[in-house]
């Protein structure tokens, strides 16, 4: 009995990894916990794009892509376990969709030499490829987002924010704290005052924070939230009748799950984004034909076309393009993680290429180099139309204020290099 049990235990623990061969892109997802509603949609989009490539094109360059999924529940310890259990299977790249897990993995991937792709999240200063050789965060990062939101407000106010009051409601974690430094610098530059209002995870309870907002009467409120915190914040904002058009979320606070529970009260809420939304792109014809109709969609395909589904799909698209580039550079279709790094560094997704892929004008142009792992940082604004139940894009892609951001990125990445004992590469 005891030996049987031990054997079962051993067998269970060994059975974690999928078979070697093929291209392996693990999906560290979370479909449970306070962030599960958001994580599910992203993971579905990520899975479905690779399923589409496998079904329609026979993989990338003739190699089938395997996407083993591992549940992290947005928990760093489980994230580490997932990373360790999948890295032995020849994993090419990781996309954990959690800033906390990203911080955990940055030192590990640098030693294991596996690229880490963190679009729109993670450590902002990873944009500096001289220091962060294995980390990529194109097309945009948190500081780009902060600057993008302020630029939008500048445009709205005729280029002058002097004397305005802006409040930042943020998830009290590494993720939420990321934009503070940039916003402080921007406040000094443009003369607005910044109030920082932390919300402890998971953020269901925000009464006191919104009471403070009600009392201080800021002109604009920015939010860096995730999961259930977004819904609670938008509900509270509606409760105190804060004008929704003056309430702007980062791209992680701008999906359907965040606004629909508030109903008509959320009408006019704005959020940044770095990609398109909805099913009006040619790719969805193929997706329907090859993935959804044959019943191969991840978890039944109920979220197709939502904001987070599109974002997961976009992340998968960038990874698959990097794999294609790496195959081209290496001259072989069975690439290694190191070759994929080179693929990322020479990645150039032009608007024409996006159109070829069936997603015209879906995202900004992504061009990465050895020293720029973050692309252009362009983002655009979308606004929620509660009556129609859809997000409308209200601005074109625009550049963030690199004059403020570039020195900050250099400073932060150099501090990391010093702390971790890294000598920056020559590019």
């Amino acid at each position: 009995m005891k030996t049987k049990l031990t054997a079962l235990v051993a067998a269970g623990m060994m059975a974690a990894a999928p078979a070697m061969a093929d291209l392996v892109v693990p999906n560290l997802s979370y479909r449970t916990g306070p962030y599960g509603a958001n994580g599910t949609q992203y993971a579905d989009g990520f899975n479905d794009y690779f399923t589409l490539l496998n079904e329609r094109d026979g993989g990338i360059g003739g190699e089938i892509v395997q996407v083993p999924e591992c549940e992290t529940a947005y928990n760093t310890e489980k994230g580490v376990e997932c990373y360790e259990s999948t890295k032995g299977s020849g994993a090419l790249v990781y996309n954990p969709l959690s800033t906390g897990i990203t911080y955990q993995l940055i030192p590990k991937v640098s030693v294991d030499k596996i690229p880490l792709y963190t679009p729109g999240y993670g450590r902002t200063s990873a944009k500096n490829g001289k220091v962060f050789e294995w980390v990529f965060n194109a097309p945009a990062n948190y500081w780009d987002g902060a600057s993008g939101a302020i630029n939008y407000l500048l445009a709205e106010n005729g280029g002058d924010l002097n004397g305005k009051k802006i409040a930042l409601v943020y998830h009290n974690s590494a993720y939420g704290k990321e934009p503070i430094r940039t916003l402080q610098d921007l406040a000094a530059k443009h003369g607005f005052s910044l109030t920082e209002i932390p919300v402890d995870a998971p953020g269901q309870e925000q009464k006191s924070q919104w009471l403070q907002i009600r009392r201080d009467k800021p002109d604009y409120v920015l939010i860096w939230g995730w999961g259930v915190m977004n819904q609670a914040a938008i509900q509270e904002a509606a409760n105190i009748r804060f004008p929704m058009e003056n309430f702007i979320g980062i791209w992680w606070s701008g999906s359907e799950v965040d606004v629909t529970p508030v109903g008509a009260g959320a009408n006019g809420y704005k959020a940044l984004t770095f990609h398109g939304v909805g099913t009006e792109y040619p790719i969805y014809g193929d997706l329907k034909q090859y993935v959804i109709d044959p019943g191969k969609a991840s978890q039944g395909g109920e979220h197709v076309g939502s904001v987070l589904y599109s974002r997961g799909m976009y992340a998968a698209l960038v990874i698959s393009e990097a794999i294609r580039k790496a195959q081209e550079l290496a001259g072989t279709s069975a690439i290694t993680a190191t070759q994929l790094r080179d693929g990322f560094e020479q990645l150039d997704i032009t608007p024409a290429r996006l159109e070829e892929l069936g997603l015209p004008d879906f995202g900004p142009e992504i061009k990465m180099t050895c020293d720029n792992h973050g692309g252009s940082g362009m983002s655009r604004m979308q606004q929620w139309d509660a009556a129609a139940g859809k997000w409308n894009l209200i601005t074109e892609f625009s550049e963030p204020d690199q004059e403020v951001l570039a020195p900050l990125i250099t400073e932060d990445s150099e501090a990391y290099a010093k702390e971790a004992g890294i000598t920056p590469r020559d590019c």
Binding site: A15, T32, C70, E77, V80, G88, Y103, K108, R181, A420
Partner: protein
Amino acid sequence: MIYREAGDFKTGYRDDGQTFPIRLDRWGYYAALAVAFGIIPFVINDYWANAVFVPFLIYAIAALGLNILTGYAGQVSLGTGGFMAVGAYAVYKLMTAFPEISVVIHILLAGGITAVVGMLFGLPSLRIKGFYLAVATLAAQFFLVWLFNKVPWFYNYSASGQINAPERTVLGWAVTGPATSAAGKYLVCLIFALLLAWVARNLTRGTLGRKWMAIRDMDIAAEIIGVNPLTAKLSAFAVSSFFIGVAGALLFAVYLGAAEVGEAFGINKSFLVLFMIIIGGLGSIFGSFAGAAFMVLLPVLLKNVLVGSFGWPTDLAAHFELMIVGALIVFFLIVEPHGLARLWALAKEKLRLWPFPH
């Protein structure tokens, strides 16, 4: 038949008082040590170290610490996560401020700092008991997490509030930082766990441990027979917090490598360690290890069986995992409220009589 005391003669007080009075137990203990030091370090890989052994050993240390306070001295604490955070931030500040000093000394010092903080938050225990004390320690949990989030000095003013463990070596081997080998991580945790378990075992069967147990069983009676509640309770808080501080330091520096206080040391951690000692067995050294093993290994095992072998969707498996672990906790509490340690003791009793029970 095999497992018995007959023929194992004790010829002195020292023999009589030893931890493993039965020869087979002793052999088992030495065999476990030989495997732990002689075999595992050579075969361990990153997955086994990071998913199984290192968290098990670190949580065993934390469970030992909480068991001293709750199991032996009877003071209920919900501040474990906060005290682990003290250990983690203390070791981080020490590692970055004095890089030339060995990290082992830093981990021990972090334990010492946590002991001082623990004593401070133990002061209310002199006036309040039971659930009320639990609430006071809960306040410690929330206060400490808030403090490490609020004051940038603790995280060296980094933009994100994260702390990252720089690389440090012991005898030329990296034990913290990303380049650490699986065996290095495992061995440093194993040595700490073994030494601390040895200290705990000897403290709890000496004068100090008897004082703690006297306070736990009836504090007024203990006071009448000459136990000073002030020193007994505060020493329990100090020793317990030392253990928990070391566990927190190891969790951050050796296991995670980067941490964020709200996520890594939140209230969930306090409950996790409390469940470990309840399931393992209150007032038992073996129980601390058994409880840690149960709470760390079972989810990993279930995940691998459900997702890896049965091919279930990951979310379904994650929900089932919660349900199974929860159901097992309830089952254990009903069937054996004294935990795995008691089950183990019963099994040994039965084995001694086997095959001729009364």
